[in-house]
Each structure stands twice: as structure tokens, then as C-alpha cells.
């Protein structure tokens, strides 16, 4: 546990100076807050910008930040130094993953409160977002583990991130895409967030999200077995 705490602490200090990662965490929350406060139209649905950007945020921030952090450490050899000082792969990923999760959740709490979400709806919104972040963190970790360097990580994470984040948006305008998009956890989260006066997921949605989580976990396990963290 000491090792995971050391990694988490390192990441807290490093991210303050790492603008590329820092921007992943704050971009969508800042956009959501600014748009909500400044751009208001008469027939606009409640929490429009929050619901619009939340799904993009949960698909983009964890995937890009996790893959960027892990691949940078692999590229620069700091990960190798950590591993040789007896930080296990599990402790490392736990440290980075917890850090990523807390950052994303803190920003989510902030933006949802500023946008005026409260009560049971707020609680359900946070649960659903937390679930989405966890799945995206595992996916970002798998990409980081598979990538030898940061360039490699970017070229892998960008298309994957685009599929997960933009599919729910495109699905609104195209019925064919909608049929495919419904099998993605981000689409199910988008649907859950956009229910009338509540944030809830039906049984079908929960099943699809769980199936996504299991598939992504299997992808991560396969990636970790193939590449590991020491093989860089």
C-alpha cells in the first residue's frame, strides 16, 4: 500500500506541472461551467451542457490521461526504476488509477454542483459517472500498457476515445449509428443521464455497461500479460 501511496503522491506533484495531463481533467468541467453560466436559451433542456459534456468527459479524460501517464513513464524509464525499487505493477496501476479517479470525480462534483444538480439526481449522477470513469480508467491503462511511448499511446487512444465519446452524439442524428452505439457503455450512460427528471439506468443499460466492463477488463488482462509494465 505504501508503494501505491508513493505513486499517487508522485502523480499529484507531477500533474501540477504537466499541462498536457492537467488540461484533460479540467477542460470539460471548465467548458461545462462556462457554457452553463454564460449561454442560456429559452427552450434549452435542464442541465443541457452538463449532460452533453459529462459523457465526453468520462470517455476522454481517463483514457487519454491514463495512457499518457503510463506511456510517458515507460518511454522515459522512470517506470523501470520504480519497478526495480519494488513497486509492483498492481501497486503502480492502483496509485495512478486512484489518482485519475479522484481527479475526475472531484472535477465532476464541482461542475455538477455549479450547474445546480442536487439531491437524489445528483447522487445517481455521481454513481453513474464513477462507474463510467472506472471503465475508462481500465481502458486507458490497457492502452498505456500496450504503448511503448507517448506517440504510440496517442495514436491508439485518440481513435478509441473518439469512438466512445462521439458515438452517443452521432447516434442522436443517425438511426443506424444508434443501433450500434447502444452496445457501448458511453451511449448507455448518455441515455441514463438524459432521462426526464431523473438519472437512471434500466436493466438493459446495466447489462450492456457490465458487459463492456468485462470485455474491457479482459482486454486489459490480455494487454498486461502480453506487454506487462517491465517490458519497455
Amino acid at each position: 500500500m505504501n508503494e501505491a501511496r508513493a505513486v499517487l503522491k508522485k502523480q499529484m506533484i507531477d500533474t501540477r506541472k504537466n499541462k498536457a495531463v492537467l488540461i484533460q481533467f479540467i477542460l470539460f468541467p471548465v467548458m461545462t461551467i462556462v457554457m452553463t453560466l454564460l449561454v442560456k436559451m429559452d427552450d434549452m433542456p435542464e442541465f443541457f451542457y452538463l449532460k452533453l459534456f459529462s459523457v465526453m468527459y468520462l470517455a476522454m479524460a481517463p483514457i487519454t490521461s491514463m495512457s499518457a501517464i503510463i506511456s510517458e513513464e515507460k518511454e522515459k524509464g522512470t517506470l523501470r526504476a520504480l519497478m526495480m525499487s519494488d513497486v509492483s505493477g498492481a501497486a503502480y496501476l492502483l496509485g495512478i488509477g486512484l489518482y485519475d479517479f479522484f481527479c475526475c470525480m472531484a472535477c465532476t462534483v464541482l461542475m455538477s454542483r455549479v450547474c445546480g444538480l442536487e439531491g437524489d439526481v445528483w447522487r445517481d449522477y455521481l454513481w453513474i459517472m464513477a462507474m463510467g470513469f472506472l471503465i475508462s480508467i481500465v481502458l486507458g491503462s490497457a492502452i498505456g500498457v500496450l504503448s511503448k511511448n507517448q506517440m504510440n499511446a496517442t495514436s491508439l487512444s485518440v481513435p478509441i476515445m473518439c469512438v466512445f465519446s462521439f458515438l452517443p452524439m452521432i447516434a442522436q442524428f443517425n438511426s443506424t449509428v444508434e443501433k450500434i452505439a447502444k452496445f457501448f457503455f458511453t451511449e448507455q450512460i448518455y441515455l441514463a443521464l438524459n432521462r426526464e427528471k431523473s438519472v437512471k439506468m434500466d436493466i438493459e443499460g446495466i447489462s450492456i455497461v457490465m458487459a463492456n466492463a468485462i470485455l474491457i477488463l479482459i482486454f486489459f488482462i490480455l494487454a498486461y500479460r502480453k506487454e506487462g509494465l517491465k517490458k519497455n
Binding site: A6, K10, D14, N18, G77, R80, A81, L82
Partner: protein
Amino acid sequence: MIQAMNISKSFNGKKVLDKITMEARDGEIFGLLGPSGAGKTTLIRVLTGQLQFEEGDAFVMGKSVKELKGKDKKQFGIMMDDFGLYDRLTCYQNLRVFADVYGVNDEDIYEVLKEVRLEGAEKKEASKLSKGMKERLRLARAFLHRPKVLFLDEPTSGLDPQTANEIHDMILKRKNDGCIIFLTTHNMHEAEKLCDRLVLLNDGHIVEEGAPQELCLRYDHQKRIQVVMKDGRTRDYSFDEKSGEEIGRIIGSGNLLTIHSKEPTLETVFMELTGRRLEV
């Protein structure tokens, strides 16, 4: 003690280590001298458990490297070229990360920074350090938890002579503290200065081993003495009675400036054994 017994390792069918057997004893600096591509870094990776191997076995502090656990690795200090630094973190923060892992306190961090002469640069970001300072910070990281065994892979490669000398002093201090130091280098002067014993490695084979001085004497086939006189003349003499009388006369005449025996250097020994130069 560090032991390698008949270690063999191949990459894509090419043998990079071939039946390597060596032993580094407690309290000594043991060197691995050889040109680039000889297999020095691979052997360090094998001995530190970073790399699996096909044949043989290796032991560090009495334990097979295949069975090394976390707490065993905490006894090692490793400085390798590809063990990077956190560029955005300061010198202190770089060490703090590892201090948290090892359970080392702040006092020890400042002490090790002082030891590697980075005490004024603790708040400087690693990316803003000179090459020599970066090497010293990496050395500080290897020293931080007072390891019993130090593995140093080309610790002064590419550094200016003054920084290299400073690093040599730091390594010798660690030796005096009782640490076993396993060092790789392609620099014969570094090997002569630091190593108690060494092996010459070429294409994954050990070609010779012994103390640096002992190796040079072993390959001193010509046994010549060079005399430089005050009038600028230089003469070579063999080890015989007639030369002794001649040298005696030069000393008696007051014309002697310097007198040296002409043993081969480690470079010449290596060339004799392999036909290759060390620094390639």
C-alpha cells in the same frame, strides 16, 4: 556476494552472454570491462532479475536471482542509463518519490543530496540540470536507501573528466562503507582506478579476469623500461644486467628525468586478446 554460474542469454537466436561465470566478493568493486555491445548491460539486467536467461544460475547475497523478492531488491541500488528521472520534478521531489517507497526520511534525502554535491540544486527541476548533475542525481537515487549492493552501468559515460572524478570519489566512498559494487565500463582508466577485480568481456564471452594491475603484469611480454633524460633523449631498456648497469650510469651522471616500467594497459591487454579496441 554476487555470483554468475554459466549464464547464457540469447536475443533472437544470437547469443549475447555465453557461459558467463564470475564472482564479486563482499566489500569490493567488481568491474565488467568491454566495448559497446559486449553484453555488459545484459549481464546487469540478468543479475538484478530484470531479464530471464536460458542457462546457468546467478546469485546475489546468496539468493538465486530467479527467486528475488521485493524486500531483496530493496537491498539493491541500481543506476542504469535507461532508468530515467522525472523531468518536471525537482531533485528533492525525484528522491522523495523513491524515499516514500523505501521508507527513507527527509534528513537522509538531504544527506544524500549533499553527498553527491547537489545540495544547492534541491529545488531545481531535473529537466534543467546539466548532464553531470543528472548523473549525480541518478547516483543519489541509487544511494538513497543505503543499499548493500550497487549495480552501476557505465556511471560516467559521456561526462567531463572533473565530474567523472567526482563520481569516482562517491563510488569509492560507498566501497569504504562496505557496499559491494558491480560496475560496467568501457573506460580502462575508470576500471584501473576503481576496480579491485574485473573481467574483460567481449561478444558475450569472458576473455580474462583478475585485478587490473595483475592483468597488466600477466601480459607484460616485452618487459621494457623507459628512461627519459634531461637532455630530451628517450631510451628503452630490457630487464637484464647490462640494462641495469646502463641505467645506473644515467642515474649517476645526473641526467635522469624519469624512469618507468612499460607494462601494457588494460586496453592493450584487451586488444591482444580480442583484436578489438575497448572504446568502440
